[in-house]
């Protein structure tokens, strides 16, 4: 696309630049400073070099939390992507009252504060007063996400899928809406099966939005904090202690600013690497669509 070559563009982005820099740069520098010192209190600190980095990198619990995190994000994507696409395909095509109602009901979980999501699921899954917990227990199975690690995982996965599949569905639905009706008519004349329509018309047209959905879902599930914190608190044991929860445990729970700083930086570097790879992939998707 054509653009004007003009460095005065900087004037336009200056307010955004300053606001984001205020909130981003100083805290980042501070975290870097913390990460190489042992801090006892205000004004009492000792330079320790790479000590904290070594400690964090060789921390078994961090490795476990990282694998747990990757497994969680992977499972989330495996379930949410196909389910979201399926829901989008089932949505009414025509605009109208029915479609509006479906959209609003579908998107509702996205607009609930994240800790309230946790609260909803506590109420829903409790064995004594929860609809789901009580029903399962009536069936003769014991289900308790506070005592059994596997049950905690199942509950968390259910919550996550319930919470975020709508985003994938909305994005896929938007992609489907952008397909001109002529495509479907042509397919009908050719006598294409509905699978062929999906495979050769709908899926390619959704590629762009699906990439975005994949990115957003990966990022947000990788950074998940509030919902598992409210629902399981990282337990039972450490079975649902994800990276963010572990980090906050070190930083706020034990007030170990140094290790927390080193942990934060490593976490940030992991996210930054994924961001960059995804961003490059996204740029290439954009190019493919224009061509």
């Amino acid at each position: 696309m054509k653009k004007w070559q003009d460095n005065r563009g900087w004037l336009f982005i200056l307010p955004v630049f300053l606001i984001v820099a205020f909130s981003a740069v100083v805290p980042l520098m501070t975290v870097v400073n913390y990460s190489i010192q042992d801090i006892f209190g205000p004004g009492q600190r000792v330079f320790v070099g790479t000590e904290w980095f070594r400690e964090v990198l060789t921390d078994e619990r961090l490795h476990e939390a990282l694998w747990r995190q990757l497994l969680f994000s992977g499972l989330v994507l495996l379930i949410e992507m196909p389910l979201g696409i399926a829901i989008a395909l089932m949505m009414p095509d025509k605009k109208g009252f029915g479609a509006s109602i479906c959209l609003v009901v579908l998107a509702l979980p996205l607009l609930i504060p994240w800790n309230v999501i946790g609260t909803i699921w506590i109420i829903f899954t409790r064995p004594d007063i929860g609809l789901m917990g009580a029903t399962i227990n009536t069936l003769g199975l014991t289900f308790d996400h506070t005592a059994n690690g596997l049950h905690a995982w199942i509950t968390l996965m259910l919550m996550e899928v319930w919470h975020w599949t709508p985003l994938v569905a909305l994005l896929a639905y938007a992609g489907l809406q952008s397909i001109p009706p002529a495509y479907y008519q042509a397919a009908k004349i050719d006598g294409a099966s509905s699978w062929a329509v999906f495979r050769y018309i709908q899926l390619p047209k959704m590629r762009g939005v699906l990439t975005i959905a994949l990115l957003l879902r990966f990022m947000d599930s990788f950074l998940i904090y509030a919902e598992p914190f409210v629902l399981t608190g990282g337990g039972p044991g450490n079975t649902t202690t994800f990276l963010s929860i572990y980090l906050v445990k070190i930083a706020v729970g034990q007030f170990d600013l140094g290790p927390a700083g080193a942990f934060s930086l490593i976490y940030f570097l992991i996210v930054l690497l994924f961001c960059y790879l995804f961003y490059q992939a996204l740029q290439n998707v954009g190019k493919g669509e224009q061509a």
Binding site: W114, I123, L257
Partner: protein, 267 residues
């Protein structure tokens, strides 16, 4: 026949998805004693006591007011500053443009937990702790990049020739921008406002860290109540239901832009 089956499955999914919310609504309409004593799919003795409690207790309803104040502040700041920035990213090429854009996006994706500690100290230094503007500014960290990203997508959908024509016709830039350009992308502004509202409304970590009493958000009030009174499920459920209402209202107003916004805005 096929159509009917498809809508049946969709309705089934939506119904199941509504179950947890329905269950909370159910709880919110019952007294605590009733909740613990009887397991009822449909509440038999409906009471609005929990809601009345919330609307008459300042420590509860002020939470809602605080949340709404900082969410609106955040949305306004984001739109006002992101509009020109998005215009610049879409129309001009300047030194470092792509890198600044990526840098903005990394902030959308940085784990909030990373910045939590220094955030508190930074805002203390500027005496901003426990003010609405502090939370609004902190939420800009992830909302501004998103807003710029969405608006940039919309602006790029408007041909650059329109701008050039207007300048040839003798429009000065401010007049062109506010009276010609902004109306052209109003649906994009609507979608961006929706996302700002949404992410600021659902965020808790920053909002809780940066406030103590005067600007405490409703979500934080709820977590405190869980630990303090422990088992008042009815009240908790009522508060939860009330946090869903603003979101539901907003989504109803932007429903027609939503699909379009996702497709064009490359969220």
């Amino acid at each position: 026949m096929k159509i009917r089956k498809r809508y049946f499955v969709l309705a089934l999914y939506l119904a199941i998805a509504m179950l947890p919310i329905y269950w909370m609504l159910n709880m919110s309409l019952r007294t605590n004693a009733d909740i613990m004593a009887n397991f009822a799919l449909i509440p038999t003795q409906i009471t609005f006591g929990n809601y009345i409690n919330i609307f008459t207790d300042p420590s509860w309803y002020s939470g809602y007011i605080n949340s709404i104040i900082y969410v609106v502040l955040n949305t306004v700041i984001c739109l006002v500053t992101a509009l020109p920035a998005a215009y610049a990213f879409s129309r001009y090429s300047f030194i470092g443009d792509k890198h600044v854009f990526f840098w903005l996006l990394t902030n959308r994706m940085a784990p909030a937990a990373v910045f939590l500690l220094p955030f508190f100290q930074l805002y203390s230094t500027f005496n901003l702790i426990d003010t609405h503007i502090a939370v609004a500014l902190a939420h800009c960290l992830f909302n501004l990049p998103l807003t710029v990203w969405i608006l940039e997508g919309f602006i790029s959908g408007v041909p650059i020739e329109i701008d050039e024509m207007a300048f040839i016709d003798g429009y000065k830039f401010p007049r062109f921008f506010f009276f010609v350009f902004v109306p052209l992308i109003r649906s994009g502004i609507g979608v961006a406002a929706f996302f700002c509202f949404m992410f600021s409304w659902v965020e808790l970590l920053f909002a809780r860290t940066l406030t103590t009493t005067a600007a405490k958000p409703i979500a934080a009030t709820m977590t405190r109540t869980v630990s303090a009174s422990g088992l008042d499920w009815g009240l908790l459920a009522a508060a939860g239901i009330l946090t869903i209402v603003p979101g539901a209202l907003v989504i109803w107003f932007v429903r027609n832009y939503l699909a379009k916004g996702f497709a064009l805005g490359r969220v």
